[in-house]
Symmetry: C2
Subunit: 343 residues, 2 copies
DNA sequence: TTGTACGCGTTATCAC
DNA sequence: GTGATAACGCGTACAA
């Protein structure tokens, strides 16, 4: 089997009796080239099956039209939808999208950041691994003026674009929703306090309790490692076996919340009468489980699109002034059957 | 803000009093370089923050160490897990992963194939859009000896690697499972018959009915456009309002199957007694819905890993002989509460 | 074991 | 409006 010779701008130049530079300019819609020439060149390119070589162009410009994504796990509803939004916006602008998963492991995150850098991406979109507290692996991008957008799980201090929801207010709203439904003893499934999202949701929870003069009880604030299904079941069982069990749960994600619903039902605890539950994310399972899970919306697609836009719109001039722009999106309670109607 | 000068192999060469070629070879573990030199070079590279330029290397080799993925939608459980498997295998081998979504639209698929080609990927993994019947947009990869792996939704004729499940046998097993649970009138939610997966599942369904001497009734075989939730609800309602409604449904995916469960329950039809339902994919919702949905396993992660391997292991020599290798994975019935136990 | 020289395909700069 | 030329960073054939 033999490999066909690829068509380059030199071939087009020969074919049309132009110089390679003219071809290049024509293909890039350079203003100094006449409409007629542009049309001719493009038609010929199409006809002979010319395809640009991004590697060559990228090398020349020292940047490829590519956005890199660095997230913990692709196959989670929030993340895959986020990526979908990024991909859509990027593609519209003629950019490609490189993905990598950290599996919530700091070391992987570091390696992937480097590997993505090696492809000379024109921007990086990151959602941090669960325990990342050091950000040196992002410095190389800063040094090269490559914009970084942290999305959802963002660092507190790093100077860069950020796209987040108001997690504090979301935690507050979720807890308030339980309180207004009549809950007096509300447990919280908390994620890693290294991550802003979980830390702030917890703060919102605590402040809502304070606001309504409910006691903050340490034994009701459960630190989770991964907020997984298994973890959720185990914790719920323990909670419900307490002599004074909670009458409400605010879980920092839907997975653990759904596991709580299932566990409670199995133990004969009625939802929402004896135990009201609210989750976070509005994953597909939340509207399928019975009773349907109340939860907080999480605009993944929009966050993805905004993140991509940040990079696409970024220009070198912005480096100093705009680099720390933060987009904060709103979230709302999605009230379903796992919580009591507001009384 | 100024951009730091990047370190190249020339800088390393100067620093170490070697020629650039020695540096290049050392970094690539070339056998003609002594262990000591390799170690020295790599240490220095690390120390001064050298990072290879994939664009330059790719241009030189006329291929970047990158796998391109072309799928309909990222944010579907099967697909995102498939991608996760690809990414994991690719990264282990030092490859990057480019993604693109066709949104089940043929035109997008064509455009994305071209764009991915422009990045000189070393292999392409494709799951076809719903209505793609022409494959000319893949020819350029063949012409350049770039391996293509079709996964799950594959063309019938195109000469290339394929990674699939045995959809016929899966359809057969699913239907048989319903029959053995006592169903006599089994409806089928069928996907686009342009796609092997849906066509074969339907064939398996029909052959199972024949095998058990059950009549094949056209009005029970419902052609779906997208197998969505909404479509599923509408169809189920109609089916159950028939004067002689079905007592079983084999849906070609879980989304439509779950919608059938929900719709049937709402209409007071008991599951599985009056209506047994089996889906396809084992999506997360299938084990959350009540009653839990029986379904067919679909080894997404494994399929992803195999697909990536196909590309990573591919060598030019294979072009003629191996290019049409097909991996067929097995699937099994996952029996849950939405179907009756085998009698 | 190491060095020299060239070219991969493109685009920016300078010239006309 | 167009052409000639150099340069991006790297890998490899050929030399030593």
């Amino acid at each position: 089997m033999e490999i066909k010779k690829e068509v380059t701008i030199y071939d087009l130049a020969k074919e049309l009796n132009y110089s390679p530079s003219t071809i290049s300019r024509a293909l890039n819609n350079h203003k100094s080239i006449s409409k007629k020439t542009i049309k001719l060149v493009k038609q010929t390119a199409e006809r002979v099956g010319y395809r640009p070589n991004n590697l060559a162009a990228g090398l020349r410009n020292n940047k490829s039209k590519t956005i890199g994504i660095l997230i913990p796990h692709i196959n989670r509803p929030f993340v895959s939808t986020l990526i979908s939004g990024i991909e859509e916006a990027a593609r519209k602008a003629g950019y490609n999208v490189l993905i990598s998963q950290s599996y919530d492991d700091y070391k992987n995150e570091v390696n992937n950041a480097h590997t993505l850098y090696d492809s000379r991406i024109s921007g990086l979109i990151v959602s941090l691994a669960m325990e990342t507290t050091d950000f040196a692996h992002f410095q190389q991008f800063v040094d090269q003026g490559i914009p970084i957008v942290f999305v959802d799980r963002v660092p507190k201090v790093f100077n860069s674009y950020k796209v987040v929801i108001d997690n504090y207010s979301a935690g507050y709203k979720a807890t308030k929703h339980l309180i207004e439904g009549g809950c007096k003893r509300i447990a919280h499934f908390a994620g890693s306090q290294h991550r802003n999202v979980y830390e702030e949701r917890k703060k919102g929870y605590i402040d809502a309790l304070k606001e309504y003069n409910l006691p903050i009880e340490k034994e009701l604030i459960i630190p989770f490692k991964t907020l997984s299904f298994e973890e959720g079941k185990k914790v719920t069982k323990k909670l419900l076996e307490m002599k004074n069990p909670p009458d409400g749960i605010f879980s920092a994600n839907d997975t653990a919340a759904v596991s709580a619903i299932i566990c409670a039902k199995k133990m004969g605890v009625s939802i929402p009468e004896e135990l009201a539950i609210i989750g976070f994310n509005d994953d597909p399972i939340s509207s399928i489980v019975e009773p349907a899970l109340s939860t907080m919306s999480h605009p993944a697609l929009k966050m993805g699109k905004i993140s991509a836009k940040r990079i696409l719109d970024h220009s070198l001039k912005d480096l100093d002034k705009l680099l720390s722009e933060v987009s904060v999106l709103n979230t709302e309670v999605i009230a379903r059957a796992s919580t009591k109607p507001i009384s």
